[in-house]
Symmetry: C2
Subunit: 217 residues, 2 copies
């Protein structure tokens, strides 16, 4: 029984890792479409999100089956319930990447970002992709240093996000109102994507140590 | 055993209803602070959100205890797992009401909204408060007509949200860029709040009927 359970738990872990890879790729491709005003690629990202939703649903059904058939308790139970929370965060990361791609489509053939903002958003996208990749690594290895690193990367996103609002409020901001709206939304999507990565990292840390706040070794 | 379980399930239901009341009140008071540039009331809403987080956490621990001690299966198990999802949605509604209050504080002593937008936002806030109240009623009565009504109210919010973007893109929009950003964010928070209400409504509908899409009788 115990052996079967461990195999099931392993499968759930692999499904989470798979989801984290898909949402890392979704952000990478969504941001590429966003930078290049590539509406075809944006459309592919939007279509691919259905697969993330499908896999999240499959993972959740799998977790419920385990709860029903194996009746896990203590840390095993917490791991299964935690996987439901983590799959929800990963699914939401997929949605946010899709929202970036939707902005691309909405403004096509124009680019969403004014030239002055591309540096900031390049950094936010890069940090988010690194966060999603580290989430996958953390799920695979349970190396909790990765959880602390994810939190640190997300702090950098928060600073960049605040910088976007400062830029919008500055005297030399000369963009039209719809551009201001799009930049605001895109920055918010970037910020939320990172937050969900942190949620997964904290959850793994909690499941391993019982503490929410990861400590660097 | 069965009787104990039903009592536990009842308690979880009451905790969800309690959360829905708190987040309805949070939106009501947050929007009042937002309309009146009342920074004291905004601060109270922000502080009160800790209670929502605490109660969500308590509900989740309770649900995990039930899973561990009673090992429910079939529809009982789905109800418990569903309650974890619903508590997460309700907690997020509390966060979004808090975000509205945070905008109030950020712009104090100015009001966040230009005069031309108050009518639209009054309607969005009113629809959201009605959604949260109907979520509580739905949880209490399982009258699935309420689920369909919630979905309909949320469609009205989506239309108002789209109207905000049209207003921002119109020739006569003459607000400065930070105002445009705040209006964009506030509208997004309103839209997301309603979406989470719909998530809870669909979940209740699914648990009762096995279908995601509520049908009006």
């Amino acid at each position: 029984m115990r052996k079967v359970f461990q195999a099931e738990l392993q499968t759930i872990g692999e499904e989470l890792i798979n989801l984290s890879k898909l949402v890392a790729e979704a952000m990478e491709r969504a941001y590429e479409s966003f930078s290049n005003a590539d509406t075809e690629q944006a459309q592919e990202v939007i279509a691919a999100d259905a697969r993330v939703d499908f896999l999240q649903n499959k993972l959740d059904e799998h977790a419920i089956d385990i709860l029903a058939l194996q009746g896990p308790v203590a840390s095993d139970l917490r791991m299964i319930v935690g996987s439901l929370r983590m799959s929800a965060s990963l699914e939401r990361m997929g949605d946010l990447a899709r929202h970036i791609a939707q902005l691309t489509r909405l403004r096509f053939p124009d680019k969403v970002l004014p030239e002055s903002m591309t540096g900031t958003f390049d950094q936010m996208a890069d940090l988010n992709i690194r966060i999603a990749n580290k989430v996958g690594e953390l799920l695979a290895t349970r190396d909790l240093n990765l959880a602390a690193e994810i939190i640190d990367l997300n702090k950098q996103i928060d600073e960049l996000h605040a910088g976007v609002f400062r830029a919008i409020a500055a005297d030399d901001w000369n963009q039209d109102a719809p551009t201001t709206t799009d930049v605001t939304l895109a920055s918010r999507y970037m910020e939320r994507y990172g937050d969900h990565g942190v949620s997964v990292a904290r959850k793994v840390n909690y499941l391993v140590t019982g503490e929410w706040e990861p400590q660097l070794e």
